[in-house]
Each structure stands twice: as C-alpha cells, then as structure tokens.
C-alpha cells in the first residue's frame, strides 16, 4: 500500500464530485482526473486550472532535496571574488544582506535576506518535509501548516531575480577589476533550476489532495 502511493497518480479524496473553481473568472468545474502530463483549462477564460505532473512526488522531493544541499554550498562558498589592485573582496549571499544592514539600510538588508535566504529555505525545506513522507503515504506532523506557509511565501522567492542582479553588477564591475567565479556562483545557478523544478513539479491542487488522502479523507 505504502509503495503504491508514491507512484499512484493524483489520488482523489473520498467523496465527490470534486470541483475546481477558476481563480480568474470564478467558473465552477467538475474536476475529473486527467492523464499525467496534461492540463485542464477553464472553459470560460482559458486559464490553467490544474496540471497533472508525471512522477510529481519523486520529482518534488529530489529537486527540493538537491536545492537544500546546494543551499549549504551557496551560503558557505563565495560567489565571486574580486581582485582590485591587490585588494580582495568576495560576495556571499549572507554577506550581501549583512553589508546592507551594516551600511545604513537595515530594512533593505532584511528584505534581501528574506527574499533570497529565508523564503527559498522555507520552500525547499517545506517541500522535502511534506513530500518525502507523502511518498510513503504518511502525513508529516504539521504538514498542512507547513504547506500553508509554503504557498504564502512562494511569491517572495526571488533567487532568479538575485542571479540577474549578480550578473548585471558583475558586468559593471568587470570593467574595473578582475573577477573570479567561485563554487558558490555555480551552486546558486543550480539552486535556481532546482527551485524552479521543485515548485513546478507538483500542482498545488494535487499536493493538497494528497495531503487530504494521507490524512484519511
């Protein structure tokens, strides 16, 4: 039973018929199960209602676990070091937030820490915590609470925006100093892909349906 749940495609909770309401136009649909790899669109406005992702739990868990491991590297190894006439500075993610806090804009510094460190950690950690046990058909303690916080923090995950910011500033600095890319930079690029992969690997509706089934609904 347990092993079956992990490969089971999108189980539906007891009861029904199950409905899905479009976020954009409020149209009520009867949510029939759809084949893996396909998506259901709203009949009125055409927006995507939900998607049935193949091997969703396995993908979420592996992507978010990888993301967590990459975070360890990202937070310890420098992104880039700069050699300007014998003076040496380097960039790390916590270092960037700290520099802003120390240099007179603490609020912006906390914001940067929140968007690039805390939110990705909540998302990746939360997904591992929730989806790992779900693969065994189990509900982690407080899984619903964690999932609520994950969906709340999702719009504030800005690691890909930070990467763009790093690239723009490096193009600016590259003209005045010598730059050396560190392991942190490549780990961060990997982290960006893993986070995107983890978030896209499971539909919100599927995750909540799985949680409800695991709870015994």
């Amino acid at each position: 039973m347990r092993t079956r749940l992990s490969i089971l495609t999108w189980p539906k909770p007891k009861g029904g018929p199950h409905h899905a309401i479009c976020h954009y136009c409020d149209t009520v649909h009867v949510a029939e199960p759809i084949p893996e790899g396909s998506r259901a669109n709203c009949i009125l406005c055409g927006a995507t209602l939900f998607q049935n992702r193949p091997a969703s739990l396995a993908r979420v868990t592996s992507f978010s676990l990888t993301a967590l491991l990459l975070m360890l590297v990202v937070h310890t190894a420098p992104f880039v070091s700069m050699d300007a006439g014998g003076m040496w500075t380097e960039l790390t993610l916590p270092g960037a937030a700290k520099a802003l806090i120390d240099d007179g804009t603490p609020l912006v510094g906390f914001g940067v820490a929140l968007f690039t460190i805390v939110t990705p950690l909540i998302l990746a950690g939360g997904l591992v915590y929730v989806c790992g046990p779900l693969m065994l058909g189990r509900l982690a303690p407080g899984a619903m609470f964690v999932t609520r916080w994950m969906s709340r923090s999702e719009p504030w995950n800005m690691i890909e925006v930070f990467l763009l910011g790093v690239l723009v500033s490096l193009l600016k600095l590259g003209k005045v100093a010598e730059l050396h890319f560190g392991i942190g930079f490549w780990a961060f690029a990997g982290l960006m892909f893993c986070m995107a992969g983890a978030v896209a690997a499971i539909d919100k509706r599927e995750l909540w349906d799985r949680l409800e089934v695991a709870r015994g609904g």
């Binding site: 309401i21 149209t27 009125l44 300007a84 003076m87 520099a99």
Partner: protein, 222 residues
C-alpha cells in the same frame, strides 16, 4: 447559470461555492472555514478594490523618492558621487552596455510604472468605469503578478555592489535612501496585485446577463 458567448457557465458566486485561496478545496461559503486547511473562505477577496487602490496610491507616492533619491553613493578617492536609478541607467547606456541598460530600464522603471497603470486600469474596469474584455484583462493581471518580482533586480545590484566594492580609501559604495523607497515600491505593487481579485472583472462583465444575482455584486451602479 450564466450565459457568455453562448456558453453556459456556473459561477461560484451564484452557487455559493468558494474555492479556498490556500488549498483550492471547493466548499460552500456557509462553512465559513475551509474544511481541508482551516483557512477563512471567501467568494471574493475582501475590499479588493479599496485595498488595491490604497496600495497602488502608496506605491505611486513612493515612486517619487525612489527615483529622486540616490540609490547608492560611490566614494572614490575621497570624492562622493550619489547616483539615482536613472543616473545608473544613463551610465550603462553611455558606456555602450545597451542590453544591461535595457534590462535595468525595464525592471526598474517600466515594470513598476506599468504595474501601477495596469492595476488602476483593472480597478476601473472592475468598477465598470471602463468597458473591457475580461479575458484580456485577466491576462494583464496574470502578467502583472508574474513580472512584479523582477523589479527587485536593482536592489540586488545595490546589494552586490555594496558588498564587493569595499576597497578602503580607494573606492567604496554605500546604499542610499532611494534603495529603501524603491524596495517599498516593489513590495507595495506586489501586495496591490495580490489584493486585486480578477473575478470582479467577470462579475462586472456578466452582471448585465445575470438576472438575479444572489450575493451582492461587488460593483453597484444598476
């Protein structure tokens, strides 16, 4: 049952069914709280237009200091130069870095402005002040929500420069008050986009075709 372009659709507002904003469970609004995740259920986001307008107004006000105040101060050999977002942009442009100048222009100037205009337009349409295509505006809303975060890129550029350009007396960069204002604009427009309920656009569009609205339609002028 509503009619739209010959299609018969059932909407949550007429049937009293609410889709939970957190977990997507569909439950009767009479349940008050979502039976699955316990969140408060609502058919429409509360005071959607008033909240969106208030946040947009605050963002528009913040947009002025965000562009007028220096976003960073460069101290080079004892001489301080303050630069605003536009000044940084011009610098890139003059140095011939057109792609970066375009990225910065889009993310820092165009997107915040377009978001403010788009949200005002959406609110006006939802109020019935402007005639509109709900499908098109639904897309506008989707794009507005999607692009919002990218405006933060300038803040991250400041963060990186402040961290790396600490070369003692030779050259150092410190953040300016414009950075806080700009981060404020981005966050306020993000909150504004989250407060807006695109379902109101369809309520407005379908309001002429629904004969007996059960719940209170959010915009009144019949």
């Amino acid at each position: 049952m509503s009619q739209f372009n010959g299609k018969e659709v059932v909407r949550g507002l007429e049937t009293g069914l609410a889709g939970c904003h957190v977990c997507e469970k569909v439950a009767p609004i009479s349940a008050v709280n979502c039976p699955r995740c316990g969140s408060h259920l609502h058919l429409r986001k509360r005071d959607s237009i008033a909240r969106t307008m208030a946040l947009v107004a605050a963002a528009a006000v913040m947009y002025v200091p965000a562009n007028l105040l220096p976003i960073l101060t460069t101290r080079e050999l004892g001489i301080s130069t303050e630069s605003t977002i536009v000044a940084g942009l011009v610098q890139f442009w003059n140095a011939g870095s057109y792609p970066i100048a375009i990225v910065i222009f889009t993310a820092s100037i165009l997107i915040p402005l377009l978001k403010i205009v788009a949200l005002l337009w959406l609110c006006a349409a939802a109020k019935g002040i402007l005639s509109h295509s709900a499908k098109l505006l639904g897309r506008v809303y989707w794009v507005t929500e999607l692009l919002g975060r990218w405006s933060m890129v300038d803040i991250f550029v400041v963060a990186v420069l402040v961290t790396m350009v600490q070369l003692g007396n030779y050259m150092s960069i410190t953040p300016g008050p414009g950075a806080l204002a700009f981060a404020g604009v981005v966050m306020l427009t993000m909150f504004a986009a989250m407060s807006f309920d695109p379902k109101l656009l369809w309520d407005q569009l379908l309001s002429e075709e629904i004969e007996t609205p059960t719940s209170q339609p959010p915009s009144k002028s019949e």
